[in-house]
């Protein structure tokens, strides 16, 4: 009979060594503890879009259920005629202003970023990332046994000079996130161009732009533009989970050199995106007015929450996302509990080393008002 030690010995060291756990939300337990009704909780912890997807996307997803029993068409190529994955690829390409062969859709951008690491990262390869950024980036690289180098943010922003000082010919991959989760800050076009120009062409630069639609700062740098200008080592990640409100359907995509897309195409599983996700994505991209209106509301909410929290004495990092990072001056865990008791769930910042910060997603106007009221009471405790 096999013992636990023996079984553990059968796992790859790289996976055993991953020291990171995804934060788990057990809201049901929390509600029970504080006697809250789940429907009364303002859940502002996962940067979801409270306005949801276009009604047209819902209608399309509903209609697609008549085909729930069959696999979606698996090919990204138009062999002779049209098919679902190829249609999604075309629609995403048109939306992003790139040729279709530079788009690689997938079931969520997390899955797509894993494919990118599987294409490029060999054991021991060096990758450079920031510790105060989306944890999925180093996680995916650690699965591939990468040697992860962390370059801390400076004043909540990517430190381009320090990145360049760390990158060498041995660096396989650089991870950027702009706007950045959890700080909401951007990498400017000037900074992005300086980084890309000074990194070896053999180093892959992955820029996660999940929150791109929420940006209104004209100095923001779009990595897609650099890719189109011929920097073939740039890979951009996009998602339908944020501005398009389709987090529950799992759809994201990479924009990359056609050669890189064809490599990802080779290692993905054949039927990887669900039928409703395809249908909803096509309809959502056909109703950009909805998305624009939702973005306008989220930006207004962002401004209001920033102003209100500042008035309460918090230091709020200027955000280009659908969340804000706020320094309350009180330990994050303590504030989390105080807000939870009042039915408002946020994300404590200590997992990123921001021990007195909270990351707060922008909700509906009503949720934002509840947050501010709860925050005022919590700070007065």
């Amino acid at each position: 009979m096999i013992g636990a030690d023996m079984l553990a010995r059968s796992f790859r060291t790289a996976v055993c060594d991953i020291d990171f756990e995804w934060p788990t939300v057990n809201l049901l337990d929390a509600c029970r503890q504080y006697g809250l009704e789940i429907d009364d909780v303002a859940y502002l912890a996962a940067n979801e879009n409270p306005y949801g997807p276009s009604p047209k996307a819902l209608a399309a997803a509903t209609e697609s259920l008549s085909l729930a029993r069959v696999y979606p068409s698996p090919s990204l190529r138009y062999d002779e005629l049209r098919n679902e994955y190829a249609e999604v690829r075309d629609a995403l390409a048109a939306y992003c202003g790139v040729p279709a062969d530079m788009v690689m859709p997938g079931p969520g951008s997390e899955t797509v970023l894993r494919y990118v690491t599987q294409v490029f990262v060999d054991p021991g390869d060096e990758i450079v990332t920031a510790p105060e950024s989306y944890s999925g980036h180093p996680w995916a690289c650690q699965i591939m046994a990468a040697d992860v180098r962390y370059v801390p943010l400076r004043d909540y922003r990517f430190d381009i000079d320090a990145f360049l000082a760390t990158v060498s010919d041995r660096t396989k991959m650089v991870w950027l996130c702009s706007p950045n989760n959890p700080t909401g800050t951007i990498i400017t076009d000037v900074e992005l161009r300086r980084l890309v120009a000074n990194v070896p062409a053999s180093t892959v630069i992955v820029c996660d732009q999940a929150y791109q639609e929420l940006v209104d700062d004209p100095s923001w740098g779009d990595a897609t533009q650099l890719l189109l200008e011929g920097h073939r080592n740039v890979v951009v990640l996009r998602t339908m989970s944020k501005a398009f409100g389709l987090a529950g359907l799992r759809m994201g995509h990479a924009i990359a050199d056609p050669e890189v897309c064809s490599l990802i195409d080779r290692i993905r599983e054949p039927y990887y995106i669900s039928g409703p996700s395809c249908a909803a994505t096509l309809a959502a991209l056909d109703d950009l007015d909805w998305c624009r209106e939702v973005v306008r509301k989220l930006q207004a909410g962002r401004r209001w929450v920033t102003q209100q929290l500042t008035e309460l004495g918090c230091t709020v990092v200027p955000s280009q996302c659908n969340f804000v990072l706020a320094d309350t001056g009180v330990a994050a865990g303590v504030m989390y509990d105080r807000l939870l008791r009042r039915g408002v769930v946020v994300r404590p910042g200590d997992i990123w080393g921001y021990d007195t910060h909270l990351r707060i997603s922008i909700g509906t106007d009503e949720e934002n008002r509840r947050l501010v009221a709860a925050m005022a009471a919590a700070l007065a405790e």
Binding site: M1, I2, A4, L7, A8, R9, S10, F11, R12, T13, A14, V15, I18, V25, L28, E48, N49, G52, P53, A57, L58, T62, L65, A68, R69, V70, Y71, P72, S73, S75, D79, E80, P107, T111, Q118, V119, D122, I143, A145, K172, A201, S202, T203, V204, R232, G245, L246, A247, G248, L249, R250, D257, E259, D265, I267, E269, P270, Y271, Y272, S274
Partner: protein, 374 residues
């Protein structure tokens, strides 16, 4: 063979060497494409090529999915736990033995990430689901290919092929594309003779269609303390939810912890979570659907045998038949009739076709088209 430039070869950033060896997946032909090419209305095209379940999805499942549409903006964390508990209960195991995934193919891709370092070996059959090979190659595995014998996994040869660097043995039971099972005796023999540090993966995507008594159940071996046994299960086949992407693994809790560690935190879609929960709650539908498939399987086996073909006895929702002619040529002739089957030459069966079991009227249409083709 001509030298082929692998994709990515012109790119400045070197892609990983193992990726170059992966073969492209050949999917079943698409019904919409066939409809457009032949002029046959889409509704009349009979697609018996991807082992999908022809039975209409349970209405209770459809209602459960539609109830999710108000919540599509949010990640499905609350149903995730409920679904895990329901899957565990359905399989008679604790929750800690379950890993959920967006289709069991995602687990096929993740298992080599857990077990295979470059140069490690995996043992598999070339006449089985093609993804085991590609997924292992992503991690740089050396493939030990052990051909089937009489359409069945050759257990003594598999045991002989296992060495100190063998990390995974890939089994599929019932096997796609042959429909044959690994028996209880065979599975026990394999598990007791292979080193305990080798993962024995049994893909049971088709298990609900099994009616043979001596079918080898990996869950029984797992319960008996063989902690290296991993079962993969699917909602795509018996539960007819191929379009929603939902599957799971049953394994030792220590294995499950590691598989969860390398899974995305939000990997299931809301419709998939809700559908899985409702599907497990509708035994009546499952019984009716499975009965229809088994009757169709018996009919196809009988009718194709009557044509003088050799039909491999199947425990899946498909049959593999030796036509004694050119299988791909027959596949093309059937396409012109608006019937899609799967040519089997990719598995080394050039004279065979694989036919998924359809609804009674689809099976009849296939048989009628076949008679016209022959």
């Amino acid at each position: 063979m001509d030298a082929v430039t692998p994709p990515g070869a012109g790119h400045e950033a070197a892609f990983r060497a193992p990726i170059a060896h992966i073969r492209d997946y050949e999917p079943g032909a698409d019904a919409e494409q066939v409809a457009a090419a032949t002029g046959i209305p889409f509704e009349d095209v009979v697609k018996l090529a991807s082992n999908e379940n022809p039975y209409p999805v349970s209405p209770s499942v459809l209602r459960a999915i539609e109830r999710q549409f108000d919540f599509l903006h949010s990640y499905p964390w609350e149903d995730f736990g409920r679904l895990k508990a329901a899957v565990a209960a359905a399989n008679g195991v604790p929750d800690a033995n379950v890993v959920l995934s967006a289709g069991s193919a995602q687990l096929v891709l993740n298992l080599p990430l857990l077990y295979v370092d470059p140069g490690d070996e995996v043992v598999l059959a070339p006449q089985s689901y093609a993804l085991y090979e590609a997924a292992s190659q992503v991690m740089g595995a050396t493939l030990r290919r052990v051909p089937l014998k009489d359409y069945r996994f050759d257990i003594p040869a598999i045991v002989a092929a296992c060495g100190p660097r063998t990390r995974i043995v890939w089994l599929c039971s019932p096997n796609n594309p042959t429909g044959a099972v690994v028996t209880a005796d065979e599975l026990e023999r394999l598990v007791t003779q292979v080193p305990e540090t080798t993962a024995i993966v049994v893909d049971q995507a088709y298990r609900e269609f099994v009616d043979e008594d001596d079918y080898g159940d990996p869950l029984a071996l797992l319960a008996a303390g063989h902690r290296n046994v991993i079962s993969l299960c699917s909602f795509s086949k018996a539960y007819a939810l191929a379009g929603l992407r939902l599957g799971y693994a049953i394994a030792d809790p220590a294995v499950c912890v590691m598989l969860d560690r390398i899974s995305e935190p939000f990997l299931l879609s809301r419709p998939a979570c809700a559908a899985g929960l409702a599907a497990l709650d509708d035994d009546e539908w499952l019984a009716a659907s499975t009965r229809t498939v088994l009757e169709g399987r018996a009919l196809l086996t009988r009718e194709l045998t009557a044509l003088g073909w050799d039909v491999v006895p199947s425990q899946g929702n498909f049959v593999l038949a030796d036509t004694h002619g050119d299988g791909r040529a027959l596949f093309r002739r059937l396409l012109d009739e608006g019937v899609i089957v799967r040519p089997a030459d990719g598995w080394g069966y050039p004279t065979h076709i694989r036919v998924s079991v359809g609804l009674p009227e689809q099976n009849e249409r296939f048989l009628a088209a076949l008679r016209r083709c022959l």
